[in-house]
Symmetry: C2
Amino acid sequence: VSDSTIYDIAKACGVSIATVSRVLNKNARVHTATRQKVLSTAEQMGYSPKVWARNMAHGRSNMFTVIVPVISNYFFMEILAGMQDRIENTGFDLNIYNVRNGAHFGDAVEARIRRGLADGFVLISAHLGQEDLNGLKKLGFPVVLVDDYNPLFDSVSCDNAEGAFSATKYLIEKGGKSVGIISAHQLSVPARERINGYKAAIQSAGRLINPGLVYVTDSREKDGFTEKTGFEGAMHLLKNNPDLDGLFVTSDVQGIGALKAMREFGRTVPMVCFDDIEMARYFGLTTMHQPLYEMGAMAIDLLIRKSEEASDEKKHTVFSPRLVVRDPIF
Amino acid sequence: VSDSTIYDIAKACGVSIATVSRVLNKNARVHTATRQKVLSTAEQMGYSPKVWARNMAHGRSNMFTVIVPVISNYFFMEILAGMQDRIENTGFDLNIYNVRNGAHFGDAVEARIRRGLADGFVLISAHLGQEDLNGLKKLGFPVVLVDDYNPLFDSVSCDNAEGAFSATKYLIEKGGKSVGIISAHQLSVPARERINGYKAAIQSAGRLINPGLVYVTDSREKDGFTEKTGFEGAMHLLKNNPDLDGLFVTSDVQGIGALKAMREFGRTVPMVCFDDIEMARYFGLTTMHQPLYEMGAMAIDLLIRKSEEASDEKKHTVFSPRLVVRDPIF
DNA sequence: CTGAAAGCGCTTACAG
DNA sequence: CTGAAAGCGCTTACAG
């Protein structure tokens, strides 16, 4: 166990702990000779500051907490990777907290904040209700929303409606007369926005929405963003629409299921998915690319900025998803 | 910002902070009336203890740190998911720390421990050298190794050699006369063990190792556990071995690459992979299943046990990978 | 440039 | 059952 404290160093160097603290914190001016001595004995004693003592004295924790719905999901993972990389060497630490599906997101977040564990929060795909957000706001901590938007907080997101619009438009331009959609659960905000984008594209092509071409899962597992709902949706649409000739799918995971369904059903229709997680590449999925990694990195930047200069200005970054065309592997 | 401290509560209740602390910590005996009063005013003041103050007083952080090589990897993610779920409601917190590929694992870990941020560590696939491990041991913190083994610490792992043996044996029994192997980089301990298992199975079938059937990548990216090395390996083996009729691949990710190679090359040979990450199911990969989620959960159990009763006994859990047979999607 | 001292919020023997 | 007090390791005005 590493025991050395600034008291040990102070004694060894014949100075006060205040001086030791000063050299360790770089900022203040200290006699060069003293500084050298302190530094070297600290080094040789294998000293490193106890973070909680610092927290205690400072009243802050230098830790950010990221709250994600489910960690075991490629979508979140790629965002997390961006955050992990960006936080490095900033002096801040990242604490990942995973809210169980059942748990009330708002409560979990508040409990977390109250405990004083973190002095900044990133909420990924939280989509809290306005009351929860107001409550959060009152606590006064820096918060950044990712894959979500609310005027109260900084946010980083993609334009889901626009992405869905582009995807659908692409399918139409490729000659699609009967372009269908497979969507995740209505409860998901991004899913709803993507449905809207799809409808807008159909209508702006001068057509009517054909309800028979719209499949919205009612599976609640992972809000319907699963391979299973994609499979079921595609099966359903293929069976009921012999003329189906285009498919917009609200996520890559679902797209994989849809791909299987097409194969099993024996009919392939052009498909555009959403997200562009790593797996999309493996399957050769054509999809709307979200810069997940960059979004994560940007969230950290915003948080650091916010926790250093307490400005009240809000920054909202909205990316435009980009179409990535690939050849499906089967 | 939530400001209330035990001083506020004490004042409001007309008792000392010691008493407040006692009721808040359940353990000690306090007059019921006092207890009620304290509890209710704490509740209504929205009080919750500042963790760092507790840490400071206790000398411990109630936090575990998990150290993973790369977080953006399904293999690690599934282990992490098990840990996240298991840590819930234990009073401990999980802090995930991601060592960059270049960084020296041992140093990163030591720095982490020294800072006093955590009072327990899980190292996933660290495979540190013995000197590093000795150093760690000296620091005296509870450590659990996952996907790794060393007599100095508790560990949870799979028998890689045995798994590779079974996989290869299966391919031989299916009629494989020329069963090849595609392996990740030699630097990876599990890769080496799996190569050994493969060789043992070949030899125990009374055959000689044919070096022409052994492909070990020298790509260092993710230790060679990538789709790319699988693709290259399969291409190489297919080209040079017209009689290739079985393929053991050291991971699912590589298996996906190999699958693509077979398709592109126009020849399909029976294949068994390793890990059974979620994606394996999507691709219909036949593979050796590792109970990743359970391994994560178990690591947390071990850590909690160790940090509560400082026993010196070591627990080593070694799972036997189980063959999962699936139909490839193409 | 440097030291003595107060303070961060909580816990825990030690008395009573 | 309860209070006064010391202590956890560090930071930071305040004097000098």
